[in-house]
Symmetry: C2
Subunit: 555 residues, 2 copies
């Protein structure tokens, strides 16, 4: 009998059937390596949750095997879970200079700085993580210094695109390394894992450079101050704003905590070039004439506490909108943020600003590859197997279809769920099982202490509020000696509903008297009687069902 | 001195700086007439609210003057507040046959049927409401039987577009009455009020007919069942689905309460033509072969309880998705619904359905006019004054800009807020004041009983849950004789946080002992002591701030 050959295991721990929380584990013999370690934003039903991170039970179980985390770029959905994961598993981290600069910032906030081994890599480098040889290749994305990966293993080579687009004219002059991808394809690639975010969009994503042209046209005609909101991490976008400001003799100031942080990191590391006499402090903008000012700010998603939202609501300490100010929102709303962005736009218009956003001008391009770019990668890499990553199920499904249209046999394409394990050898591949995977909810300092019951209660409370009913009874004979007292919150405005509250008290009194008449003393039964009678009464009166909390005190 | 001439007053009570809740009052001497009476959906922060309706304080104050409500079409954002308004003001209603058919349905639900005077009108008719002569003109929209209005007054003629698009090839063969609009423009129009919804979009909205072509192409290649989700009220869309089904020999069944209701009304009134042998009951669909079935369903917005959402979640009693079923979502997500629609699409894909939605094919067109259509109306009507209506502030602002580009002097354009009054005479127009206007929140049976305090509490509860602290003290000396008991909901999963709860109890005990040591007996002070100590403790431990409800019982 032939000796059983070792197989590669691909284990997505996040990023599949969802946007964000990207994390892929690759296992071979005694080694596990990780690609990215991202967070995601809570779904609407995750009330009160701050962020969501991957469940790493499988990695903790196999902690002796895990060799490190390779990062493709510095976006939150690729690095945001690092502080939480590193507290459980102290792993070396590999990434490019800017990526690790952003990670360092994050670790400082979590007081983890200095305790983590960080290895700076650059395109062309190869890092060894156990049996894995990870080669870094230049790519383009809506953040500088993004890479894609070729992971060389005994079984074969794996190409992982990270998040990417094909920008032939990137701002930093360093386009995606199509030559190396072609070469790898020529030699033979076992498996491709590729970004699916924009797979529904036909054609090509426009070059980042086109936004610069739009900026110039807008800046040329602006008479007053210009305020541009964009993602802080989109260093190339920020550079283009600076370039346009330079061209039209405007000074630049940065507003918003993350904008200032990221810009400082990017300037220190040489990713952002701002002539020193152009840079002014937000405190000094009033010393200049209107047509000499550009403010670059956070808040392009309408985030309630961001600088732009505060500007729009007249709550910003250093900047008040004047009629004629030009505000450019250089971003597209992430699904779910449409209404918050629209609110900010409306507020800005109301204050007399001239607001330019994606619906009105080409002030944004995506960072993700559209269909024709994806086809280019598939045709260069020509993989034996394909796993679509980074996307909701509909995206993965469309990407599988696209791969099939490019010649990958359907049986070689795996549309997975987080936690599903694919085993690949040189001869064959199959889904071989499942490991624990899922969402860990972070709420304040709590990691994983908010579960379904808590969320269900929050939802109930958010819709109908609550009513607390307190009654004090005697230990001897269960006589009611105080209450029932009723307190409500989030239900009705009490002062205008005194009659309703009085009636509610009577309903509870009657229910309790009924119990006493029947000699019922069990607390559970008393509580049920209170709950049921009150619920029926309130529903009949208001068609609402507040949470009812009966509390019995015994003295 | 010249006699003071009576002026027209335009008073928007809803629909400005918002999407929905459309209601415009026009006042002249002793008469007030209303255009539309719509509802809107609650904003994200209006937790637990069902719908929002206009504040009609001004109308109630002037109830002797109000002559009636003229309806432009049967969408909820134009008729949805009728049951609530009619309970306060019994007014005659004017509308086309289908519009009033839909109103009748609504009044039945609210047990108001028969008590309201409804006057059916048709294009070309003129209704007299006091001094106002209201002329109805055919227009196109994403519902059949929509009209625009010419309101003839002593001061001049007002044109109100309602919601509209310019469809040169509408399904019912009756396009917008451009001839009459041109004639009115020729004679002189005092004021134009026009739909601003799509003013950000360049070009033209495509004809409804183009969707029919897409349906035919999709139906032609479908092998299994076809399920189409669309708005029930989009009767022309439903007709096109039926036409395509007819062409490819499929039977049609309707699913979802509002779909069945609206289809029945539309068939009865002759707006929908379904050969009787094509129509089958949902209970019978399994009697037919897969390629013989089309199901038309509600749920195109991913509404959680809708038929399509239940189908996607395998919770529909009569229809279970089979691999290969074709699902067409013939609608675009209303801003705010993107994520719920995406969720349904993902679930359908997971069940093996072939899902077609707007991102993938032209299965939807808008019901609102884009820039070129708006320009056409402006150029035909040539109004002296212009008020943009139906849109958020950004839309109104863009529409004002468009009107200016079409030759209306900026001082003749009024970008208003709800409640602002514009007075117009033959010679001049100005903003003359304000009346009460705003949002009335409907929650269950409660109309207006949920206000800011209740909403703020719901928000607080939804994010961090609550903690109830109960303590029983004696009347004589304020000794604690029972408790403190602590109950939490929506905060942490209690079983895994017993230590935290124990510590919390100790914190409260200490706070109370402290008060007793200082001989403090006032309840307000005791409650503050409990609240403050517990809040500080919990925030330090969890970085969360649940609502804290201290309750003191005295025996």
């Amino acid at each position: 009998m032939a000796k059983k050959t070792a197989k590669l295991k691909l284990i997505p721990l996040g990023g599949l059937n969802e946007i964000g929380k990207n994390m892929m584990a690759i296992e071979y013999k005694e080694d596990i390596m990780l690609i990215d370690c991202g967070m995601s934003f809570p779904e609407d039903e995750m009330l009160g949750i701050d962020i969501v991170i991957p469940d790493i039970t499988y990695l903790i179980k196999n902690k002796d095997k895990v060799r490190g985390i390779v990062l493709t770029h510095g976006h939150e959905d690729h690095i945001g879970a690092l502080p939480y994961v590193l507290k459980k598993l102290n792993l070396p981290i590999y990434g490019t200079k800017l990526t690790l600069g952003l990670v360092e910032n994050k670790l400082k906030e979590h007081k983890l700085s200095g305790s983590v081994h960080m290895q700076v890599v650059k395109p062309g480098d190869i890092a060894k993580l156990g049996e894995f040889k990870v080669e870094f290749m230049r790519t383009s994305h809506s953040i500088a210094d993004a890479v894609c990966l070729a992971i060389h293993t005994t079984v074969g080579t794996i190409v992982h695109t990270g998040d990417f687009k094909v920008d032939f004219t990137p701002i930093d002059g360093e386009p995606i390394d199509l030559h190396r991808l072609a070469e790898l394809g020529q030699k033979g690639v076992l498996l491709l894992m590729a970004d699916s975010t924009n797979v529904e969009r036909p054609g090509y994503t426009m070059s980042e450079r086109t936004v610069g042209t739009t900026f110039e046209n807008i800046f040329r005609n602006a008479q007053k101050r210009i305020i541009v909101a964009t993602f802080a991490s989109n260093v190339h976008r920020v550079q283009q704003i600076i370039n346009a400001a330079y061209k039209f003799n405007r000074k630049v100031s940065f507003s918003g905590r993350s904008m200032v942080n990221v810009v400082n990191v990017a300037m220190e590391l040489g990713y952002l070039n701002v002539p020193s006499d152009m840079l002014i402090d937000m405190n000094d903008i009033d010393r200049y004439l209107d047509h000499e000012i550009v403010v670059v700010t956070t808040g392009s998603q309408g985030e309630p506490m961001s600088a732009l939202s505060r500007i729009a609501a007249s709550e910003h300490k250093k900047l008040e909108i004047q009629p004629g100010d030009m505000v450019i929102i250089s971003a597209t709303p992430i699904p779910g943020n449409e209404k918050t962005v629209a609110k900010v736009v409306n507020q800005l218009f109301e204050k007399g600003a001239n607001v330019i956003y994606e619906a009105l001008a080409d002030v944004h391009v995506s960072g993700h590859a559209c269909q024709e770019e994806l086809k280019l990668i598939h045709s260069l890499v020509r993989p034996q197997y394909f796993i679509p990553v980074h996307g909701e199920h509909r995206h993965l499904k469309q990407h599988a279809k696209l791969a099939e249209s490019m010649g990958t046999p359907p049986e070689n394409i795996f549309t997975l769920e987080n936690g599903q394990v694919v085993e690949i050898s040189k001869e064959s591949a199959k889904i071989s099982g499942n490991v624990t995977a899922g969402n860990i909810l972070v709420d304040g300092l709590g990691v994983g202490d908010v579960g379904n019951i808590v969320l269900r209660d929050r939802k109930h409370l958010s819709e109908d509020g609550l009513m607390v009913v307190v009654v004090t009874i005697t230990k001897e004979n269960g006589q009611v000696i105080a209450g029932p007292d009723i307190i409500s919150r989030g239900f009705v405005y009490v002062r205008e509903s005194e009659d309703l509250m009085d009636e509610a008290r009577t309903v509870v009194k009657n229910a309790l008297q009924n119990c006493q008449g029947n000699n019922i003393r069990e607390w559970a039964v008393l509580k049920s009687a209170i709950k049921d009678s009150l619920r029926d009464f309130l529903y009949a009166k208001t068609k609402r069902s507040p949470m009812i909390l009966p509390i019995i005190m015994e003295v």
